[in-house]
Amino acid sequence: MALRGLFAPGTRFLLPAEHSRAFVQDWLALMIAGMLAIPTHPALPAAAFGQLQNQFRALDFSHELKTNLNAGQEQPPSVISQSEDLVRPAEAGAPCLALLTSGSSGEVKAACFLPASLFWNAQAVRQFQALEAPGKMAIHLPLNHAFGLITQLLPALLAASPVHLLPHQIWPGDLLRHLHTAEIKTFAAVPSTLRLILQGQPEPLPALRHLSIAGAALHPEEIPALQAAFPQAQIWIGYGLTEAGPRVSAFSNDDPEFGSGSAGRPLPGVAIKIVQDEVWVQSPSLMMGYLDAPELSAETLQAGWLKTGDSGYLSPSGELFITGRRDDTLLSGGEKVAPLAVERALQSQAAILHAAVYGEADPVLGSHLVALIELDANAEIPSLHALRRFCKNTLEPQQIPRQFYRVKTLPLTPNGKLIRKELPTWPRNPWS
């Protein structure tokens, strides 16, 4: 009975998004049973996991399941009926999924979705992006993010296509070998993975027919090399964001405007408007709002429109162009990073008085983080390795600066606000 009480509709569960069959089963089971799944990075440090539990009043799914099953003789409640449609959610009006995303000030937010929204976006992607029958699909994009979960895994499940769940941390050579030997037909990757794959002369992948670029834009000048490496594959680029559920626009290399730098055309049923240079989106798959954050939700969702925080414009023929972020968010390796969160973490070290972080162009990652550090004159200077160790224990990999410099001061306004645009050219000294 205890187990039945715990696993009740509306209960919130943190679910580490391991690339395994168990994760997929658990996620679907929670959705069908009307519970709220909050997928997390599978290697999240324990402290960060605990913070999420507190912030969102959520339980650790695997811990609760193991504890309760071990404590009693109860079997887990049957939430999937073998005789019914396997992906029919039980509670149509309640959120079934909350996806974690970080805001520009580094706070963690959880975008909540109704089951119907997820299925709408997955079906729209299937129809618009030629994924009605994706064939063998390999997924290595993280399943705690919307792209992998909603626009890859869910369409494959709806199409009953075989899915190969690859480790997220897989070497390019091992990835290529798997795509080749398993004759994968459909695959998606962030630009940094594709850039690594394109180093040298990659072996052709004759079975590959559908390649989507996720997470960040590929520079138009990089597209010919991709097409030359995989000439038989249809290449898809687009625009989306977690809060939009996620796909907003897309097009393939069959479109005459492909390669123009555009992020594609809106999916049928999605409307885009530009308000003072900002991209606003209306779509059946928009989030309901952020979990336990009504003010932030009201600020982001206005009269049925999602304010994306991205700057952009629509061409006369209707293609979307994204020109940048309206806030300080950086993109590294396809992942969004809030500089403020990194700076706060660095400044928690006693030896560091002030820290400022900015993005610098990177041939593989798109951009990487650079940290300018003002040290406390009385403190012992930590070694570069010690600084990196500290970052590893407190930050996610994409948040860790790849270069550290010492500065005497930082560029500040008279009010003490950091002048970020001056950071790339600010005088600095090597760490050691």
Binding site: Q169, G173, R177, I197, V364, L365, R389
Partner: protein, 84 residues
């Protein structure tokens, strides 16, 4: 072509210079990149770019496998094989 031991010692120096290994650590061919040095995929991208630049080579994607990048010994052999 650089001597094998020379390549290994240059990689060791680079790792320490970049803060990817502790200055006082003893590194050898058996030192594992992920388990012993704790390098994540972002670190490894950084390391590969560093090796490409330092040794003036381009490590082809097909060579970037778990087998070749397991430890410093296998990595230095890969660099040695790929050096111009």
């Amino acid at each position: 072509m650089a001597e094998k031991s020379l390549v290994l010692s240059q990689i060791q120096i680079l790792l320490k210079q970049e803060g990817l290994a502790a200055p006082e650590s003893e590194l050898g061919p058996e030192t594992r990149l992920k388990e012993d040095l704790g390098l994540d995929s972002f670190d490894l991208v950084q390391l590969i770019l560093l090796l490409n630049r330092h040794f003036k080579l381009e490590l082809g994607s097909q060579l970037l496998t778990g087998e070749h990048l397991e430890n410093l010994g296998s990595l230095s052999m890969l660099v040695e094989r790929s050096a111009p």
